[in-house]
């Protein structure tokens, strides 16, 4: 990866009729980078990709590919190729003809096409499938052909719209590994769409989290996972719990805030907040500690006395265990808080001694919690 910007979007706006779909998209992708657009259904991921490919025109804003303004260029005049959400393999052409189509249009001679196609097939591990028709392929094989067709032209940017969306979990994992390897071999720039946060975290150099036609946060996987800027990102990427409260005091490192009659702590990370300000804090479920609630509440006596550890009885929300669920290798314990809202704690392992109805204290390490929505809090 070098520092050349290969793709740049600036202030892209797009509406379909009255529906505003993209609302000021700015993005700059470096050569060789793997960037993922992550967001829920309908947030405008596909539309963004189609604007990059030239299949859709933005209402305003510019698209630059390799430094050239291509906003008004037709798709066939842009050096990008797309792997479509539904593959879009030409049903009347063989695998070989599908993959070789772009070369045929460029009037590359037959021998070279044949050779390039078979190399591409080898790359996606489908050697010998040249003469098959698309409807004689499985979903995963179609996927590979679609990828081969898109890379055979050596595009500056490869656009992939939920390429693994239609595959089952096991195949998806396998294809993730293969895509990563392919990308390492080709060094092509990837713009990748998914609404699967795990996939995004696993594969990307950077993730752009999208919401209602805007980027909510763009950053490395650990940026968006460990240091979400907003409660939306925290919920979407890390399935985090959001706790709201008002600031009590701050010693520069930690901030103590009151929430639902209890006191909680969060690492300040440079945020300057004064007492009385509203705060929102994201805590991922695996960071939540639950301790059986035994002794009566000790009064909160200031940050110096509050360690933020499970044993420090001054801090922590009071809660009642509501239910336990074992899913995906982790045990999820849902507790309900004083105001009736719920919070999830997760543990490795299959069971915990806690049973529904137990009273617990909810705590976390202050440096494991993240202040979010800072610009929104006045």
């Amino acid at each position: 990866m070098d520092d050349t910007v290969i793709l740049q979007l600036s202030q892209i706006h797009k509406s379909f009729g009255d529906v505003k779909v993209l609302d000021g998209i700015d993005l700059s992708v470096r050569k060789g980078e793997f960037i993922t657009l992550l967001g829920p259904s309908g947030c405008g991921k596909t539309t963004t990709l189609r604007i990059i490919a030239g299949l859709e025109r933005p209402d305003s804003g510019r698209v630059f590919i390799a430094g050239k303004d291509v906003t008004n260029e037709e798709p066939n005049r842009r050096n990008v190729n797309t792997v479509f959400q539904n593959y879009a393999l030409f049903p009347h052409m063989t695998v070989e003809a599908n993959i070789g189509y772009s070369l045929r249009l460029k009037r590359v001679d037959k021998e070279t096409i044949k050779k390039t196609v078979s190399q591409a097939l080898e790359l996606v591990q489908l050697s010998g499938y040249e003469k098959r028709m698309p409807d004689e392929l499985s979903g995963g094989q179609k996927q590979r052909v679609a990828i081969a067709r898109a890379i055979v032209n050596q595009p500056a940017v490869l656009l992939l719209d939920e390429p693994l969306g239609a595959l089952d979990l096991q195949l998806r994992r396998q294809m993730q590994v293969e895509l990563k390897r392919l990308r390492a071999r080709l060094g092509v720039t990837f713009v990748y769409i998914t609404h699967d946060q795990e996939e995004a975290l696993n594969m990307s150099d950077r993730i752009a989290v999208m919401r209602n036609g805007k980027f909510e946060q763009i950053g490395t996987p650990s940026d968006v996972y460990d240091r979400p800027k907003t409660s939306y990102v925290a919920r979407f990427v890390g399935s985090a719990n959001i706790v709201e409260g008002t600031v009590l005091e701050s010693d520069g490192q930690r901030i103590a805030f009151r929430s639902q009659g209890a006191v909680c702590l969060v690492a300040a990370r440079g945020a300057r907040l004064s007492p009385g300000e509203a705060v929102r804090v994201a805590v991922r479920s695996e960071m939540v500690d639950l301790t059986p609630y035994a002794s009566p509440e000790l009064p909160y006596s200031g940050l110096d006395a509050a360690g933020g550890n499970p044993g420090d009885s001054q801090v922590g929300l009071q809660a009642v265990v509501k239910e336990k669920n074992f899913a995906g290798g982790v045990l999820q314990i849902t507790v309900s808080l004083a105001d009736g809202s719920e919070l999830v704690a997760s543990r490795h392992g299959i069971d915990s001694p806690l049973v529904p109805g137990d009273k617990v204290r909810v705590t976390w390490q202050p440096e494991r919690a993240v202040l979010v929505d800072l610009e929104e809090t006045p």
Binding site: L89, F90, P91, H92, M93, T94, E96, K131
Partner: protein, 265 residues
């Protein structure tokens, strides 16, 4: 119980009898010695011999075949272009134009015939093969248009987008993607048009010239002077030819999909 189960069989039998017994009779009586249709007097190829000696009849047959071929193919080109091009037209009265252009399917033939007659006299087109071809082409266009349009609706637009993404211009998209995918619809449209042109009497009567006969017109006029079993022989031959065409087209249809596959490798 048993009666109920037998009913569909009887029903089917009646329908088949109504449809095919007349055809069977025509075929049988085309080999009849006798001049009278209802009396069987022995096997003979006499009417076939007569038929092939009848220069007028043969000329009418050739006229009909040429007419059906030319007009169904012209209609295929025009109807296909219309169906492919129409979605790109951004016009206020587009739906009206579309509606009007498919209207000939619903207008009674006799009125269409009248209209063509008036129109051709107005623009002073000499009546004959030319007027016949124009008239037949124009009543075939709506069928091709509708068939191709229906097929186009069923084609995922992401194919065209994928092609453009891979470097195709509009022209490439049409030749490489759209045309191969609508080819089956065009082919069935051509067959349908061919059949309709071949047996059209009403419109043809209005627009033909004095010296030009199509086969249906020729047979129809013979009705007045008395039908000989020659017509039976002719019908039998045409029936056989139709069967052959259908068989060929099925076979050809299978073959085209294969060759399309092969051509693109």
């Amino acid at each position: 119980m048993r009666k109920k189960a037998r009913f569909p069989g009887i029903y089917l039998g009646i329908i088949l009898a109504l449809m095919y017994v007349p055809i069977l009779l025509v075929i049988i009586y085309s080999f009849n010695e006798s001049r009278i249709n209802s009396v069987w007097s022995g096997f003979s190829l006499r009417w076939y011999r007569d038929l092939f000696r009848d220069k007028d009849m043969l000329e009418a047959l050739i006229n009909s075949l040429v007419l059906a071929t030319v007009s169904s193919l012209s209609a295929a080109v025009i109807g296909t272009l219309a169906a492919v091009g129409m979605p790109r037209v951004k016009l206020r009265g587009k739906s009206v134009v579309e509606y009007i252009s498919t209207l000939p399917i619903m207008i009674p033939e006799i009125i269409l015939g009248m209209v063509f007659l008036v129109y051709f006299s107005l623009i002073r087109l000499p009546f004959g093969m030319i007027t016949l071809t124009v008239a037949h082409t124009s009543f075939c266009i709506p069928y091709i248009y509708m068939l191709v349009k229906a097929r186009l609706v069923g084609i995922d637009k992401s194919y065209a987008e994928a092609a453009k993404d891979l470097g195709a211009n509009e022209w490439n998209v049409f030749w490489d993607i759209t045309l191969p995918l609508i080819l089956p619809a065009i082919a069935s449209g051509v067959l349908l048009s061919f059949a309709m042109s071949l047996d059209d009497v009403v419109i043809s009567v209005f627009v033909t010239g004095v010296n030009t006969n199509t086969l249906p017109i020729r047979i129809y006029t013979q009705l007045k002077t008395g039908v000989t079993p020659k017509v039976n022989a002719l019908s039998t031959l045409m029936f056989a030819a139709t069967l052959l065409i259908i068989m060929l087209s099925t076979w050809f249809g299978r073959k085209t999909t294969l060759s399309v596959k092969r051509r693109n490798t």
